[in-house]
Symmetry: D3
Subunit: 62 residues, 6 copies
């Protein structure tokens, strides 16, 4: 029944999200967790809402 929450910058394509979901699901299968037990939730975060090195990421990686 694991739950995975992913925080990442917005802007990923639907294909990248699908690949990520499949890849994370595979990672859990390798330790015995069935795909139907898993929920994966992706939060798209605007770069202006992400702080790193004391700055908004929107300034560091516009």
């Amino acid at each position: 029944m694991p739950v995975v929450i992913v925080e990442m910058w917005e802007g990923r394509t639907p294909e990248q999200k699908e690949a990520l979901i499949k890849g994370i699901t595979r990672a859990f299968e390798e330790i015995g967790v069935k795909p139907e037990w898993l929920n994966i939730i992706i939060h798209d975060v605007p770069k202006s809402n992400w702080g790193m090195r004391g700055e908004q990421a929107s300034r560091l990686a516009p």
Copy 2:
């Protein structure tokens, strides 16, 4: 002072959100937590950002 974070598919009506907030508040009152101590936060998650059974939920429940 409990904090409740709800992750669910976007698309709920304001009435459903209000009912949910009232219901969760009641659940805490039953164990002695006053409504003014409680914060409930709802994250609306697009189905394309939700993975289940190794797929995007947008494909399974369009």
Copy 3:
């Protein structure tokens, strides 16, 4: 498929946790979410790890 994460002070009894799980489940049922779709996760947080009014809760409510 909603996921609920509860952050609260450690020290609740098993009976209180059970009551809380049942109450939250009921709150979701009222808006059409079946119990088998729901995951509820409780994080027990020591009061020394909880800040409120600029202090550790362990000082305010020892």
Copy 4:
């Protein structure tokens, strides 16, 4: 490598978010955490998705 997740009402200005990121970074520096080790993530939450005192915050503080 700490990660900080902030849940707050939407509506803050970019200047407030920048000030908040700088202030939180400073708080970690004071306990020996370098800015480049820190990720800060801000979730803007609509008031209608925030429950307090058993109500949607959008009703209490429109």
Copy 5:
């Protein structure tokens, strides 16, 4: 700079956690995220703190 938070039942071995970290890292690499940009955080949750089907998981899967 994605952050991944995993909520799962306590009881996994160190080897399973290591395999999971490697597998999730690989899933991100496949979409262009370098391992050094990624933080993965695992929360071990006691079954008595996990609600599913309206019950504590400790009752359903003791």
Copy 6:
């Protein structure tokens, strides 16, 4: 009513946690949030539960 969740390695002293709570509270005060509106929650994460650079942090920084 912001909520702040901090994920960091376990091992911080009570003094460091107190300093962190005070510093984060100050950061919010600077943008107009009163200390009594703020909840700060610290999750102590064992290094063996933290993945970075594709490894458990317990191996990289024992």
